[in-house]
């Protein structure tokens, strides 16, 4: 297969990025909101742009594309990738932040904006977000979870479970609930299926153009053709996600499907908002650690001698300090810095965002040692390879050897470790927030949800839904990431390729 690097591979990603920026900007102009770019938003944006470029580059290099083609031929990783993509889309929507203009009072020409920074996702979930109760309520409950003094219609005062302000407020009596839920689930399912069919027909239409077959043939092919097996997997995974989404939206409009938290916030909303926090920690941390790990690891292995000694000394020292201690110290000092310099932050969101970023940084700084050690070992092996010797015999400079020969040949290890580490980092956030040194308490995250639910585990009757919601969302993400990572590792493992 002849492959010449086509010089215009970067056009497509640039087009996509420009289109997205233009769309967002015109959206802001039309609605008159004031965009707010948090640091993590910018970094996430850069990361996605970088991934787009990387994907476009890989696509035109047959040797780099091959392992990915292997991954895309297997059904489980493809399904996992769809789930990951769904999470990523939610996180990206949640990363478009803005401040809504307030109704201007009087003749004041200047527009004032709300101090609250909200995201596009908040906007979509507005109904759910604003339906705050006063305290705990169970999933699908129509009454609060604790007794309060209520006044009856006849004027008498008793202690009873009061009706919720929003949850099931349209119901006259609890007996109507089952029928209502059934009906709404059904209508949600219908909507989901319709949406799915729409997507399927768009795909079938595109395929019929490229394959020069009639629309009906393509649809039939999608169902029966063994070649479309993977595409079918994608479609069915998408169907499941869509159905879950539409049913949740339909029910969430009038019920709290995962109950409410201590302050009466909808737990489903919290769980969805936590996705961004989890992904930010999982991805940005990696971004922080990669330069350390790659540069130091390959340099140590290639140069040997005193450079190796110094780098080994650094990471051995860093490794022997307990990570949690280091993280706690760093986070606490950041907190002191934040409270001493309140003038630097315009909104609470800014403050919380800085702390999130700080957590990413410190997690990154403590977690590069493992990859560094692996890369050092690999570079030690590679430096004895004959092509490196040949390059040295040509008088190629050491830095060029590192960049041109060593780095591309350890890239697969970097990739495997990054994908494997991702799920570990998401879990690390939960653990750290639970310990109290994680993200800002005002940031919604799975760790914070678990932390706040922890006290209520001892209570009778037990409040279980916060935990369950965080568990379900985290479980789906981490499982998908792990399944995907397994497939990536298999595809990039040279031993698996030999036969």
């Amino acid at each position: 297969m002849r492959q010449v690097a086509s010089p215009s591979w970067w056009i497509k990603p640039v087009t996509i990025i420009v289109l997205v920026i233009v769309a967002l900007w015109s959206g802001f102009q039309l609605t008159g909101v004031k965009p707010v770019i948090l640091t993590t938003d910018a970094l996430l944006g850069l990361l996605v742009a970088g991934l787009l470029f990387l994907a476009a580059y890989i696509k035109q290099r047959s040797d780099l594309l091959e392992p990915w083609r292997q991954v895309s031929k297997r059904r489980i990783p493809v399904a996992a990738a769809v789930i990951l993509a769904a999470y990523a889309v939610i996180a990206m929507i949640d990363s478009v932040h803005f401040r809504v203009p307030l109704e201007s009072a009087g003749q004041d020409k200047t527009v004032h904006y709300s101090v609250e920074v909200s995201s596009l996702l908040d906007h979509f979930l507005q109904q759910i977000r604003e339906q705050d109760e006063s305290t705990y309520s169970a999933p699908f409950a129509i009454q609060l979870y604790s007794k309060e003094v209520v006044e009856r219609e006849d004027g008498t005062v008793t202690r009873d479970y009061p009706r919720l302000q929003y949850g099931g407020a349209h119901l006259q009596h609890i007996d109507e609930r089952a029928a209502d839920i059934t009906w709404r689930t059904f209508s949600g399912l219908i909507k989901g299926v319709v949406l799915w069919l729409l997507i399927v027909s768009v795909i079938a239409f595109k395929r019929s153009r490229t394959m020069r077959a009639s629309f009906g043939q393509v649809l039939l092919g999608l169902r029966n053709n063994p070649d479309a097996r993977v595409l079918r997997t994608i479609m069915y995974t998408l169907l499941v996600i869509l159905l879950l989404g539409t049913v949740a939206m339909e029910l969430g409009a009038v019920y709290h499907i995962f109950g409410t938290s201590k302050v009466g916030q909808d737990v489903f909303y919290q769980a969805v908002k936590s996705i961004r926090t989890g992904l930010v920690i999982g991805t940005l941390t990696t971004l922080v650690m990669l330069p350390f790990a790659i540069l130091l690891g390959t340099a140590a292995g290639y140069f040997r001698g005193w450079i190796d000694d110094v780098i080994q000394y650094i990471y051995t020292t860093l490794n022997s300090i307990p990570g949690v201690l280091l993280i706690a110290a760093a986070i606490l000092s950041i907190q002191v810095y934040i409270s001493n310099n309140p003038e630097l932050f315009r909104t609470a969101a800014d403050r919380a965002d800085l702390r999130l970023l700080a957590l990413c940084l410190i997690l990154g700084v403590t977690s590069w040692t493992g990859l560094c050690r692996l890369l050092r070992g690999e570079a030690l092996k590679l430096r004895e390879m004959e092509y490196i010797q040949a390059a040295r015999a040509f008088g190629v400079s050491p830095l060029t050897v590192l960049g041109r020969h060593i780095f591309p040949n350890v890239l697969h290890i970097v990739l495997i470790i990054v994908v494997l580490d991702f799920s570990g980092l998401v879990l690390a956030e939960a653990v750290l927030s639970y310990v109290g040194v994680g993200v800002d308490p005002s940031t919604i995250s799975w760790g914070n949800m678990i932390n706040s639910a922890r006290m209520e585990m001892a209570r009778e009757p037990v409040v279980w839904w916060s935990l369950l919601a965080a568990f379900c969302f985290m479980f789906a993400l981490v499982l998908a990431a792990n399944l995907f990572a397994d497939a990536v590792r298999d595809a990039f493992d040279p031993r698996m390729r030999s036969l």
Binding site: M1, D63, E386, Y387, Q389, F394, G395, S397, R497, L499
Partner: protein, 670 residues
């Protein structure tokens, strides 16, 4: 020779899943092995020899490989019908196998006793004391001195030859009727190879066991075989008794194999090559599998698949030439004569190019907490040689004698540990530093042994070839460099379009050509060839050797040819230097050294090389022991502990070098 068949393969077919589809690694193979005979399966890599062995053992890689047809009869019992449970008792007691790589066949964390004992306990009902006695007996029978001590040792304490002996002992533990040896000596030096082959022969004589030996080395075949089967692309193409095979090979492929062997007599002419490569076995064949590479092919060969033809009870061949049903075409005149006439005479001796004096490479051994230098590995210990431009100097020796280290040290790749004097055209390389050194690298280049490891798999051929030009500022623009890369590819017999491919798309021989093109890109005067053909098959080796000779003639290159293969030396070299433990013991013109060796080590080395001629019953001079450690070389002459002619004074002092053109360092010559 009417003994009954011990092993009979009947239409054995084995398939293997690969990335490119299902490969039929063994295709309807039928052979018989009789009791007490040595049957050699000969062929190039990728012809299905090893898969045949693994099929017999029931050890095919799972789930990729499987038996899809045929039967394996051992003493009349069909092994293919046995369950895995039953096969386990067959393995070890009735059929045993030894592998190519003794280093990886033994478990590094178990002692020799544990590894042999494991087999004995499984297959015999002996008690502990008896097992121990039997183990000592076994080690003794494979020629391991001091077996009681060796039993308690771990594999890393044994040398390569010892490990292979232990492997043979383990295989013999269950007293098998058939021993399958898959390239048992390929990883070993010639002197050790001679010992192991002798041992196998002796065991066969003593126990009456049959041996199925897999090899690609015609010399080994001549030395041990009773009967030979030649495999090509999964099929048996020829079978004959060893004398018939060497006197009159029937199949064109076998004939070609003989012609492509490098030998002294073929100096000055080009080697006969088999063009192309073994076809991929994923293909479904409708023609003769050898047709694309055969010079005797005619139309019928590409339309019909030849059947197996029994010539007599002993032999048969799979070729239309031997088939009476097909009319014999007029055989095209063999091109060999024309090739021989094309070039004559050796390359002329030019001016002095490379001078090496007293080169030393001492690697420090660090020990302890503070990494103090506890001693030195004297890999190269005072080496001196001269090389004229346009000439080839072969550096010969066993593995571990420091010949590769010497090559790399001359190229200034082992700078911090190298001492001595290296001059290239009056230019002192040892004194050059930084940029001056980097700039000088355009004059000397290297070609490596392993064509798979010597190119960055992530770079396109174009980039690979341009790397040296970039570093040495040859060519002004990318277009100019790319054009030069295209020229170079054509010069080494590839096409210009190939520069847009990646190394993994090339075969071993093609890759070695790419490496040569890469080295030529900076227009060197000297190329160090570090075993450039030892990883290649005989037919491909011939192609590469031809190319190297041709380039030398046209470009006036000088080669420092590092090798252990004496036949390649005989064909390629003008001068020979024999190395032993970091020093040159004998040096001189190739005819003198190979035909009239003076140093006892050279004599032993040459006698151990198996000749591709079953008639030649030359005596192998057996060296006792192994190569000593270069950390603490012996007192006096380094060779004296193994030397059959050692004298008292050999222990006292290292001998002076004597002689003028044919020099030798030995106390025998004063």
């Amino acid at each position: 020779m009417t003994a009954e068949a011990l092993l009979r393969l009947d239409q054995l077919t084995t398939e293997l899943d690969s990335v490119r589809g299902v490969a039929r690694a063994v295709d309807k193979l039928s052979i018989q092995i009789r009791k007490g005979e040595t049957y050699v399966l000969l062929g190039e890599s990728g012809c299905g020899k090893s898969m045949t062995a693994l099929s017999i053992m029931g050890l095919l890689p799972s789930p990729a490989g499987r038996l899809t047809g045929g039967h394996i009869y051992l003493d009349g019992e069909d092994l293919t019908a046995l369950s895995e449970q039953q096969m386990r008792t067959v393995r070890g007691t009735r059929v045993a196998m030894i592998f190519q790589e003794p280093m990886t066949s033994l478990n590094p964390v178990m002692t020799v006793a544990e590894q042999i004992g494991e087999v004995l306990q499984r297959h015999t009902g002996l008690n502990r004391q008896q097992v121990r006695e039997r183990m000592i007996e076994l080690l003794d029978s494979v020629g391991i001195p001091d077996p009681e001590r060796r039993l308690q040792e771990y594999p890393h304490q044994l040398s390569g030859g010892m490990k292979q002996r232990v492997m043979i002992a383990i295989a013999l533990a269950g007293e098998p009727d058939l021993l399958i040896a898959d390239e048992p000596t390929t990883a070993l030096d010639v002197t050790i190879q001679a010992q192991v082959l002798e041992l196998l022969e002796e065991i066969k004589q003593r126990t009456g066991m049959a041996i199925m030996l897999i090899t690609h080395d015609l010399g080994v075949v001549a030395q041990v075989a009773d009967r030979v089967g030649v495999m090509y692309a999964g099929q048996l193409v020829e079978q004959a008794s060893v004398n018939d095979f060497f006197n009159q090979p029937r199949h064109p492929y076998s004939q070609k194999l003989f012609h492509s062997l490098p030998e002294m007599d073929k100096r000055g002419q080009q080697l006969d090559v088999i063009r192309g490569n073994v076809p991929p076995l994923t293909r479904r064949f409708t023609s003769c599998r050898f047709v694309d590479r055969c010079e005797k092919a005619w139309e019928a060969c590409s339309t019909a698949e030849p059947d197996w033809i029994d010539l007599d009870a002993e032999s048969g061949v799979r070729c239309l030439l031997a088939d009476p049903a097909h009319a014999q075409p007029a055989v095209p005149e063999a091109a060999a004569g024309a090739v021989a006439a094309e070039q004559a005479g050796y390359s002329e001796a030019g001016q002095k190019l490379l001078t090496v004096r007293d080169l030393q490479v001492h690697f420090p051994i660090h020990k302890g907490l503070l990494k103090r230098v506890a001693g030195y590995v004297r890999a190269v210990d005072g080496l001196s040689l001269d090389l004229n431009s346009g000439q080839t100097l072969a550096l010969v020796g066993e593995s571990g004698c420091g010949k590769t280290t010497a090559g790399k040290a001359i190229l200034q790749l082992l700078r911090p540990w190298t001492r001595g004097q290296v001059e290239l055209q009056e230019h002192d390389l040892m004194a050059a530093q930084g940029k001056a050194l980097r700039d000088s690298r355009t004059d000397y280049q290297i070609i490596f042994q392993d064509p798979y490891a010597s190119m960055n798999p992530r770079m396109m051929v174009d980039e690979i070839i341009q790397e040296g030009m970039l570093a040495q500022h040859i060519g002004n623009s990318p277009a100019q460099r790319s054009e030069r890369a295209a020229e170079l590819l054509q010069q080494v017999g590839l096409t210009a379009e190939m520069r847009f491919r990646y190394p993994h798309e090339f075969s071993g021989g093609q890759r070695q050509r790419l490496c040569i093109a890469r080295a030529l890109a900076v227009q060197p005067k000297l190329i160090v060839c570090d075993e450039p053909t030892s990883a290649l098959d005989v037919s491909v080796q011939a192609q590469v050797l031809n190319l190297l000779k041709d380039l030398q003639r046209r470009l006036g290159l000088a080669y420092l040819f590092i090798t252990h293969d004496i036949s390649v030396v005989a064909y390629m070299a003008d001068q020979v230097a024999v190395m032993y433990l970091g020093r040159i013991v004998e040096q001189g013109p190739v005819d003198d050294v190979l035909n009239a060796p003076r140093h006892p080590y050279t004599e032993a080395l040459l006698s151990a090389v198996p000749q591709a001629d079953p008639g030649s019953k030359h005596k192998v001079i057996r060296l006792s022991g192994e190569l000593p450690s270069p950390i603490s070389p012996p007192q006096g002459c380094y060779f004296h502990p193994r030397c059959p002619k050692a004298m008292p004074e050999c222990r006292q002092a290292y001998p002076q070098q004597t002689g003028t053109t044919h020099t030798v360092s030995c106390h025998l010559y004063k």
